[in-house]
């Protein structure tokens, strides 16, 4: 029944949420020591499947076979004891404790009452050396970069004798160099016989690191193939179910000569130095740069979310005094935050409540919310952005990441601002939804809005923008017009390399 060298088999597993069939009769085998990528659009069921394997969710139907033994479901603790570890996109570390303490969280180091600190650090160092990384076991987690925090997560799984490691979007906050280092670690784990389940939206990475790829779509298993047997076009087609030869929609240059936004000498402490630029009606202005260049800080200043020390923001020739996001929205500037979960979507409220939140006062008369006006706005944007939800009173936390992002975008679009700043708008979102968001941006630009898009995704930046400003160390390093745009030029401006 089970292939010989399989470590985990999923047999006819199904899982249902209210209104959505998340997993539909999935059967799958994972081999010992393979790197197996799981791909699919948001809402395809990847997260749900992984969480079932990790024991966070219980399937409604089906069985899981791990190392030959059959189970109906796992508990998180049981899964860990069996050797299944999961590293979530938002790490599960205690930031005030140090590396060693985090690695052995939950595992006794000492006798009944006292933690044997010497053993703690000794054992931590053993694991660190075994993996071949440079890490101080006494370092506090909050002082580590995301890349090293991830290493700590990996070490933790090793300390739990991991046999199957699930990694959810592991490279989301890593640079290219850090990603290469991560791949080296993955190879080391592989050599030890650890199976890696790798969830990612990044096709190039998946082709580089995985042995096999499984594609899920709408809760169904579409295909499982050897990585070497499939091309990237085929992969996208399997994921999306249609041909996406043009990921970035054909853009008619819609920039007009009218200058809408004028930023002069914007400075903020050590974060921003004399930023000056203009933005024109109908253009998509891309903002490139490395993590830490100051792009989000600049956007937040323009949106009134943070104070700045010097400089002026002018819109339509009028100098703006922005003390809060409320002022910015009133002045016609909208900002879609980088961190969707913390700053964008109100997880405890419904889809409808989220969408109308920024315009609630506008549709209220004498304190009372005009429910008709509210419903009109909600259905308008659900349709415009094709937000997939069974009904508008659905709790927004039940939506997939891509649809949650659409809700956040709808919320800010409802304000009818003419300057829209999007900060990493498609991070962690599936291919199909990305395309829809690009189309929406194009339509808005055609309507005469100013779109400012901050992005670390090079292809996105080059494919969508009319021109690009590249930031470095809190200042604008250079500007590239459409004709000048190239990956090399952006990277060299962003990192200050002269080649």
């Amino acid at each position: 029944m089970c292939p010989e060298n399989s470590i985990l088999s999923i047999r006819n597993v199904s899982k249902e949420w209210p209104g959505v069939l998340a997993l539909d009769n999935i059967s799958l085998d994972f081999k010992k020591g393979e790197v197996h990528a799981i791909m699919g659009e948001n809402g395809a069921g990847k997260s749900t499947l992984m969480k079932i394997i990790a024991g966070s969710f219980w399937p409604d139907k089906g069985r899981i076979v791990f190392e030959g033994k059959e189970y109906f479901h796992f508990d998180p603790k049981q899964a860990i004891e069996l050797g299944i570890s999961i590293i979530y996109q938002e790490f599960n570390l205690i930031s005030e404790l140090n590396v060693a303490e985090n690695i052995f969280l939950g595992i006794k180091q000492g006798n009944r009452f006292f933690i044997n600190k010497k053993d703690l650090y000794k054992n931590a160092l053993e694991l660190i050396d075994e993996l071949g990384v440079e890490l101080d076991p006494k370092e506090i987690i909050s002082n580590l970069s995301p890349a090293y925090q991830q290493v700590v997560e990996i070490l933790r799984s090793i300390s739990r004798n991991v046999k199957l490691l699930i990694m959810d979007e592991p490279t989301a906050s890593l640079t290219k160099t850090e990603t290469s280092k991560l791949f080296e670690l993955i190879q080391k784990l592989k050599a030890k016989g650890v199976t890696i389940l790798y969830i990612s939206h990044r096709l190039e990475e998946v082709f580089e690191i995985s042995d096999r790829i499984t594609v899920l779509r709408d809760g169904c298993l579409i295909a499982t193939q050897n990585t070497s047997d499939i091309s990237d076009n085929e992969l996208v087609r399997l994921m999306v179910g249609r041909d996406l030869s043009n990921m970035y929609p054909n853009k008619e240059y819609s920039r007009q000569d009218k200058e809408i936004l004028k930023i002069t000498d914007l400075s903020q402490g050590t974060n921003l130095h004399n930023i000056s630029f203009n933005a024109y009606k109908g253009e998509i202005l891309g903002i490139g740069g490395l993590v830490g260049a100051g792009r989000t800080e600049m956007a937040r200043c323009i949106f009134g979310a943070d104070n700045f020390d010097n400089g002026t923001i002018q819109k339509n020739g009028v100098k703006l005094e922005l003390k809060s996001p409320e002022d910015a929205i009133k002045a016609g500037i909208a900002y879609i935050a980088e961190d969707r979960k913390q700053h964008g979507v109100l997880l405890h409220m419904t889809v409808a409540e989220n969408i109308t939140l920024a315009v609630l006062k506008k549709i209220s008369r004498l304190l009372f919310i005009d429910k008709k006006a509210e419903n009109k706005i909600v259905s308008e944007y659900i349709q415009k952005l094709d937000i997939k939800t069974p009904f508008s009173s659905q709790s927004v936390k039940n939506l997939s990441g891509g649809n949650q992002q659409k809700v956040v975008i709808a919320k800010l679009l409802a304000t009818e601002s003419d300057v829209i700043i999007l900060d990493e708008p498609t991070r962690g979102i599936d291919v199909g939804t990305k395309h829809e968001i690009y189309e929406a941006m194009n339509t808005l630009a055609k309507e005469g809005k100013v779109i400012i898009m901050i992005s670390s995704d090079m292809l996105e930046l080059l494919g969508v923008s009319d021109r690009v400003l590249v930031m470095r160390n809190g200042a604008i390093a250079g500007e590239l017009s459409k004709n000048e745009l190239s990956e090399e030029k952006v990277i060299s401006l962003a990192s200050g390399l002269t080649s």
């Binding site: 949420w17 209210p18 749900t48 969480k51 966070s56 969710f57 219980w58 949106f303 979310a305 809060s324 996001p325 409320e326 910015a328 929205i329 009133k330 900002y335 935050a337 913390q342 700053h343 964008g344 979507v345 109100l346 997880l347 405890h348 409220m349 409540e353 939140l357 920024a358 609630l360 006062k361 209220s364 304190l367 009372f368 919310i369 039940n398 919320k411 304000t415």
Partner: protein, 318 residues
């Protein structure tokens, strides 16, 4: 922000069980129209203050000053009528203004000075107690117009106590505010995620100020009614009241971290407090034991609520 119906039914079940229990224990004394009105009259001040407290807790805050506020407002209204000969109605209006002012002060300290609500209102609690005692020298103020008694001791249609009418009215107003106005939506939004609310253009400081001022107002209303019932302005009135109010609100399913809770359930929480006190007194349980019981009921209710929430989380998924 609205939890599953299942959880709200648990609170209702607790109330019904308590009523059943006490009815069986002493049918003749407990299950009468007279006693029914006694119960709800006894909790009317608690209920009124609970509405304002709900607003504060929805934004993730706390108001510990509602207890000693009873003393302060009683002293203020009594003193205005007795020492300054002010017309009762004007005295009441001014006293409500004082309540709003204390709430405003609480809100200002929490939002501008960024002191946590617990410490802010704890300090305010002692400050206003000090003010009440300083002004009165510790002595009660009495000797006011009989017309003032009607507020706390009068009836509508000869059986419905006026405090009950006021409580029901305030619950209705509170419910309408929370469910049909943008202020209510803002309260839930800020309570659940302050930063996301701010980035959506909500003036978070204003929303919090509104919550604390509402709590000050409802506490003042309760204090004025209490003064009318006691026929005197007692500077030490309301000691421990804040704990009862918070208990009733938490019993009603409002989360201490904010963003979750319905006013209807708070009403039931208030009733539970009333039925418990009244029922235990009728079956002659002494006051000290009543405290123990009240504490246990709170723990059980919150634990059941947590279990209900966890259950829905496991099946739906976090």
């Amino acid at each position: 922000m609205k939890r599953s119906r299942f959880n709200n039914y648990i609170i209702l079940l607790v109330l019904i069980s308590l009523i059943a229990f006490f009815s069986i224990a002493n049918f003749k004394a407990f299950l009468t129209v007279d006693n029914f009105f006694t119960v709800i009259r006894q909790v009317s001040m608690l209920g009124i203050a609970a509405v304002g407290m709900t607003f504060v807790m929805l934004v993730g805050g706390l108001d510990l000053s509602v207890g000693t506020m009873q003393g302060l407002t009683g002293v203020v209204v009594a003193s205005m009528m007795v020492n300054f000969g002010v017309n009762p109605i004007i005295a009441i209006v001014v006293t409500l203004g004082v309540g709003i002012l204390v709430g405003y002060a609480n809100g200002l300290i929490v939002t501008k000075l960024k002191v946590t609500p617990f410490i802010t209102t704890l300090s305010m609690m002692t400050i206003i107690k000090g003010i009440a005692f300083t002004y009165t020298g510790g002595f009660p103020i009495y000797g006011f117009n009989e017309s003032f008694q009607i507020l706390g001791q009068g009836y509508v249609l000869s059986i419905i106590p006026i405090p009950v009418v006021i409580m029901v009215a305030i619950f209705i107003i509170g419910w309408i505010l929370l469910n049909n106005t943008y202020i209510g939506r803002y309260l839930y939004s800020v309570g659940g995620n302050e930063e996301a609310s701010r980035l959506s253009g909500i003036n978070v400081k204003k929303v919090k100020m509104t919550a604390y001022m509402s709590s000050g107002l409802t506490a003042a209303i309760a204090g004025v009614i209490l003064c009318s019932r006691l026929n005197s302005g007692q500077p030490n009135a309301g000691a421990g009241f804040e704990f009862d109010v918070i208990t009733a609100v938490v019993l009603g399913g409002v989360s201490l971290s904010g963003g979750v809770g319905r006013l209807q359930s708070v009403f039931i929480g208030v009733l539970i407090m009333g039925v418990l006190s009244n029922g235990m007194t009728i079956i002659s349980i002494n006051e000290y034991i009543q405290w123990i019981v009240k504490g246990l009921v709170l723990i059980i209710a919150v634990a059941l609520d947590e279990m209900g929430r966890k259950k829905s989380r496991l099946s739906v998924g976090a």
